[in-house]
């Protein structure tokens, strides 16, 4: 059990603004006693046209945990995330082979209700993508599309998720103003709130902090920590220190033979960073390669 405690203790009381959040205090370590795989990926390969982007990736994503994916640009991390919520469907020429299971569902089943799946598995992009609508409408639009139409219920959800991401106090008096007027960090938190409003089980985050300034990045990072336990988070990050701070599990991707990305090593975060098995991993986390 103790191997989940992979964070240094100085992280614990980093934030003293806990009351602004309703997700509860920062959680460090011990997200789940018995790691239970929620998403299982076996021998996943992915091609764009004839060009391979991922080769033979197998890993488990554990329920309630934060899984960090690290590795140099172009090694297929974004592609990997897109497989998990079938966003690859939008890319013509994208071919996938292998097995991907979410819970008991076959994620590659042609008859899968993709829209339903994407409500369960939300995604946050590198560049925040608020829609050119008001702050309130950003959150309401997907909810309305999923059949929620009572304004009172919508208001409650809007307030709830904005509180969850610590944005409520900052925007409660200007819910009708354009979301594009928010700062980068606020926009990214709005996007997370928008995803949370759909009550997902899993959140895929593709470098959610890399377009943000250090302060906003810290705020978003704290927020991600608060998601632990309640949501299963898969986060791609180029910030190794961040991965080390927040993740329970880590996977290291690398481009093999100048060709396709593959998973070099996967394991508990502590092990990946402190006792990597593979020499490439060791070189990457020590900063001598990549």
């Amino acid at each position: 059990m103790s191997h989940f405690i992979n964070n240094k203790s100085e992280q614990v009381d980093k934030s003293n603004t806990d009351d602004a959040y309703t997700l509860g205090p920062l959680q460090v370590g011990l997200p789940c006693c018995m790691p239970e795989p929620l998403i299982r990926v076996d021998n996943l390969s992915l091609h764009y046209g004839l060009k391979p982007a991922l080769e033979d990736v197998s890993l488990d994503i554990y329920k309630g945990c934060i899984t960090a994916l690290i590795g140099p640009s172009g090694c297929g991390k974004t592609s990997f995330l897109s497989v998990l919520n079938r966003l690859t469907d939008l890319i013509p020429d994208c071919r996938i082979s292998g097995n991907v299971h979410y819970d008991t569902m076959d994620l590659r089943h042609p008859a899968l209700d993709v829209q339903r799946l994407r409500r369960d598995i939300g995604m946050i992009f590198q560049k925040p993508v608020p829609f050119p609508l008001s702050i309130r409408r950003n959150i309401e639009l997907p909810l309305r599309e999923h059949g929620m139409s009572k304004q009172a219920g919508l208001n409650d959800v809007v307030q709830q998720v904005l509180q969850d991401v610590g944005l409520w106090e900052e925007v409660k008096n200007r819910l009708e103003s354009p979301a594009l007027a928010l700062s980068g960090g606020q926009q990214q938190r709005l996007c997370i709130a928008r995803a949370l409003a759909l009550q997902p089980k899993v959140l895929l985050m593709d470098e959610p902090c890399s377009a943000l300034d250090p302060i906003s990045s810290g705020v978003v990072e704290d927020l991600i920590q608060r998601l632990r336990g309640k949501y299963t988070v898969v986060i791609v990050t180029h910030n190794l220190a961040q991965a080390r701070r927040i993740a329970n599990y880590a996977g290291f991707f690398w481009i093999k033979d100048q060709r396709a990305g593959c998973l070099i090593e996967f394991g508990q975060c502590k092990q990946i960073f402190e006792a990597p098995v593979h020499e490439l991993t060791a070189a990457y986390v020590n900063g001598s390669r990549g």
């Binding site: 966003l87 994407r118 829609f131 050119p132 609508l133 997907p142």
Partner: protein
């Protein structure tokens, strides 16, 4: 140094030349057209082959022809643009074929459209010389322009919207209605204005399809004379019709400005509504 000054001079000269021509043209029309312009000119029927009287029925015919053209062309072009931009791959054979055809069609002289409209709408479909024939012919003529501008507007909408919206489990049609079309609205309006401008100025295609008759039309199946045809007739076939021709031209320009500003403000209102509130 000298070279720079020369370039600046050249640029200024062209700018002055271009705007000079425009101002001259406008001033000419206003100076010659304004004296005859009055409320009665706008509502009365033309008399003495248009030398006196007004242009009431002609304005009505023009608006009807334009209305038929736009009511047909706008939904068709929007649907085609959506199909091309959102539901076919950019490099598919179908898409390439349609785009190439549209580009060729956009360059076809309007008189060819006139002959085509005459053969198809007037004769083959039996609509005769009518406002309907004229409007449908104009619709064919502006369709390529409207489709291409609308498609480019949709293509220019950020792809992130498509991804982010899909990632929230939203359907493609919802993405289209709530995000892509609003993002493309400025382009749609710009295309629409170009289309209206081309349609309202069209003479050649209408002579063969909607005809010359300057009576007040009773229905869309009546022949009706468009403003541009009226101007052409007055200045070419009617001795002493110049004053009326100028006034009609002024009305044409005012009409165009009016339609454009209405389209703009409608689009602005719609954009504002969809951006800020529900």
């Amino acid at each position: 140094m000298v070279k720079n000054a020369l370039t600046t001079l050249l640029i200024w000269l062209t700018a002055i030349l271009v705007s000079g021509v425009f101002v001259w043209l406008l001033a000419d029309i206003i100076i010659h057209g304004l004296p005859k312009l009055s409320w009665s000119f706008l509502v009365e029927t033309p008399k003495n082959a248009g030398r006196s009287g007004g242009i009431g029925p002609i304005i009505v015919s023009t608006l009807l022809i334009l209305g038929v053209a736009m009511v047909t062309a706008i939904p068709l072009s929007l649907a085609t643009a959506v199909l091309l931009s959102e539901f076919t791959r950019h490099d598919s054979v179908f898409g390439r074929l349609v785009r190439r055809s549209l580009d060729v069609l956009a360059g076809v002289p309007s008189i060819v459209f006139g002959l085509f409209g005459n053969a198809v709408f007037c004769i083959y479909l039996g609509l005769g010389f009518s406002i309907l024939s004229g409007g449908l012919t104009l619709a064919c003529m502006v369709l390529p322009l409207l489709i291409r501008t609308a498609e480019e507007g949709l293509q220019a909408a950020p792809n992130e919207y498509r991804l982010a919206s899909a990632a929230l489990g939203m359907s493609r049609s919802a993405t289209l209605v709530h995000l892509l079309l609003p993002a493309a609205t400025p382009a749609l309006v710009a295309g629409l204005m170009l289309g209206v401008g081309r349609a309202i100025a069209e003479t050649a295609a209408l002579i063969f399809t909607s005809g010359y008759v300057d009576r007040m039309p009773d229905s869309l199946f009546d022949s009706g004379r468009a403003l541009s045809v009226h101007i052409y007739d007055l200045s070419m076939n009617v001795a002493g019709g110049d004053a009326s021709a100028y006034s009609s031209a002024l009305v044409l320009i005012l009409l165009l400005l009016m339609i454009n500003s209405i389209a703009l403000s409608l689009a602005n209102q719609w954009l504002h509504r969809s951006v800020v509130t529900a």
